[in-house]
Amino acid sequence: MSDSCAAPDQDTALPASVDLEKETVLSGTVVNDEGELVQGAYVRLLDGTGEFTAEVVTGEGGQFRFFAAPGRWTLRALSRYGDATGEVEAARGLNETKLAVSR
C-alpha cells in the first residue's frame, strides 16, 4: 500500500488485498450529457454532515472509487462538462453510482 495520500490509479481492478467482506467501497463512473465516460473529472466524497472526506480524479474509464464506512455519503463531481451531485446509502461491500455531469 502506498504510504501517501495521493489518488491511486482509478482504472485498475480492486486490489486482491481488499476484502469486500470488511471494506465499504463506493465506486462508479462519471458521464456527460452525451452519456460518454468523462476522464479527468474531480470526484469528492462528503460525509453525512457535508464535510469533505476525499477526492480522486477519474481515469480513462471515467471511474472513481472510495474506501469508506457504511452510512450516508454525498458524491460531488466537477468537470469541464459541468457538475453533478449524488447521494449514497452505503453498505459493507461494493456500492456503485453513476454521476451524470451537466451545466
Binding site: 500500500m1 502506498s2 504510504d3 501517501s4 495520500c5 495521493a6 489518488a7 491511486p8 490509479d9 486490489p15 488485498s17 481488499v18 471494506e23 479527468g40 474531480y42 469528492r44 466524497l45 460525509d47 454532515t49 464535510e51 469533505f52 472526506t53 476525499a54 477526492e55 480522486v56 480524479v57 472509487r65 472510495f66 474506501f67 469508506a68 464506512a69 460531488r76 466537477l78 468537470s79 469541464r80
Partner: protein, 283 residues
C-alpha cells in the same frame, strides 16, 4: 506578507510562462499526471523519489535538496512557482521544503492543477530542457518543522491543529477514504488538538479561501488562540503543509510549524496520550 507574494493566480501564471527567472514546477505523488500533460515549461518533482530519503524515514537533507534543484536547473535567485494535483497538497508540501531550505522567492499557483484543468487552460507534453545550476540550499530552518517530542509537549500548551477529515480525527477511519483502511496504527488524535480539516481552507475548485474567511475558520469557528504558537499535522504531513501555508503564509501567524511525522508517527508511538471521538479532549 501580502497574499500576492506567496500565491499567484492562473491568469498571472499564463502571462508569465516565458518570463526569465520564473520556473514552474509540478509536484505530484503520481507523476503520470505530469507526463500526460503539464503547464508549458514546467519541470517535475516526484514527491516520493525526489523529496524522500531512499533509506531513512525522513525527507531529503540540505545536500540532497541542493542536488535536486541543481539537476532541475533551478537557481538560487529564481522565482519558483509550484503547483500540483490533490488540491496542491504536494505542491504546498514542496513549498514548505523550499522555505525550510531557505529559498525565499517561492509561490503557489492558486488552485493548482485542478483549477488549471477546470479552466481548460493549455497543457503540453513537451519536457523542457534546463541547463544545470549550482544550487546551494541553506541549513534546515527548524522554526518551521515540529518533531514528535514538540507535538507531545504542545498538548494543552500550544495550538495543535489536526487537519485530517473528521472521521480520521475521531478515530473512525485510519486513512483518507480513497485508500484502503488497512493501516495498523492506533486511531484518534493528539489530545487538545482542534479539528480543522484542510479542505475547509480551500474552495471547491482548489483555490484558497479569502483571508477573512480563513481567519473566521481558524479563530472564530475552531478557537485557535492567536497569542500562542501553532503546530499543524495530518497523516503524513502534506495536507498539513496546505494548512500551514494558510496559517503562516496567508494569515501571517509567525510561529507555525508543520509536524511532518504526523499521525503515522504519533499514532504508532508507545505510551503517548491519544484522544478518541469528536472532541479535542483534555491534557
Amino acid at each position: 506578507m501580502a497574499r500576492e507574494d506567496v500565491l499567484v493566480t492562473a491568469e498571472w501564471a499564463e502571462e508569465n510562462l516565458d518570463t526569465p527567472g520564473v520556473v514552474f514546477v509540478e509536484v505530484d505523488e503520481d507523476t503520470s499526471a505530469y507526463d500526460s500533460g503539464h503547464i508549458k515549461g514546467a519541470v517535475k518533482i516526484d514527491w516520493k523519489d525526489d523529496l524522500q530519503d531512499a533509506i531513512r524515514r525522513d525527507f531529503v537533507n540540505q545536500e540532497q535538496f541542493s542536488q535536486l534543484l541543481s539537476e532541475r536547473g533551478i537557481a538560487n535567485d529564481d522565482t519558483v512557482v509550484l503547483y500540483g494535483g490533490n488540491n496542491n497538497w504536494f505542491a504546498a508540501y514542496a513549498y514548505w521544503y523550499f522555505k525550510l531550505y531557505g529559498h525565499d522567492n517561492v509561490k503557489l499557483l492558486d488552485g493548482g492543477r485542478k483549477k488549471w484543468e477546470l479552466d481548460a487552460r493549455e497543457v503540453v507534453t513537451e519536457v523542457p530542457e534546463r541547463a544545470k545550476t549550482e544550487y546551494v540550499a541553506k541549513p534546515l530552518n527548524w522554526d518551521l518543522r515540529a518533531t514528535r517530542d514538540e507535538a507531545e509537549a504542545a498538548i494543552g500548551v500550544k495550538n495543535l491543529i489536526d487537519v485530517r477529515s473528521p472521521d480520521e480525527y475521531a478515530g473512525r477511519l485510519l486513512a483518507p477514504a480513497h485508500l484502503p483502511q488497512e493501516q495498523s496504527q492506533r486511531g484518534g488524535h493528539i489530545p487538545t488538538a482542534l479539528s480543522v480539516p484542510w479542505s475547509k481552507a480551500a474552495n471547491e475548485d482548489g483555490t484558497f479561501k479569502s483571508d477573512a474567511e480563513l481567519r473566521e475558520l481558524y479563530v472564530e469557528e475552531a478557537g485557535l488562540d492567536e497569542a500562542k504558537p501553532t503546530i499543524a499535522y495530518c497523516r503524513i504531513g502534506e495536507r498539513s503543509s496546505h494548512s500551514w501555508f494558510a496559517l503562516r503564509e496567508l494569515l501571517g501567524y509567525e510561529d507555525v510549524k508543520n509536524y511532518d511525522g504526523s499521525w503515522t508517527e504519533y499514532g504508532s508511538l508507545v505510551g503517548v496520550p491519544i484522544a478518541l471521538g469528536d472532541e479535542p479532549g483534555t491534557k
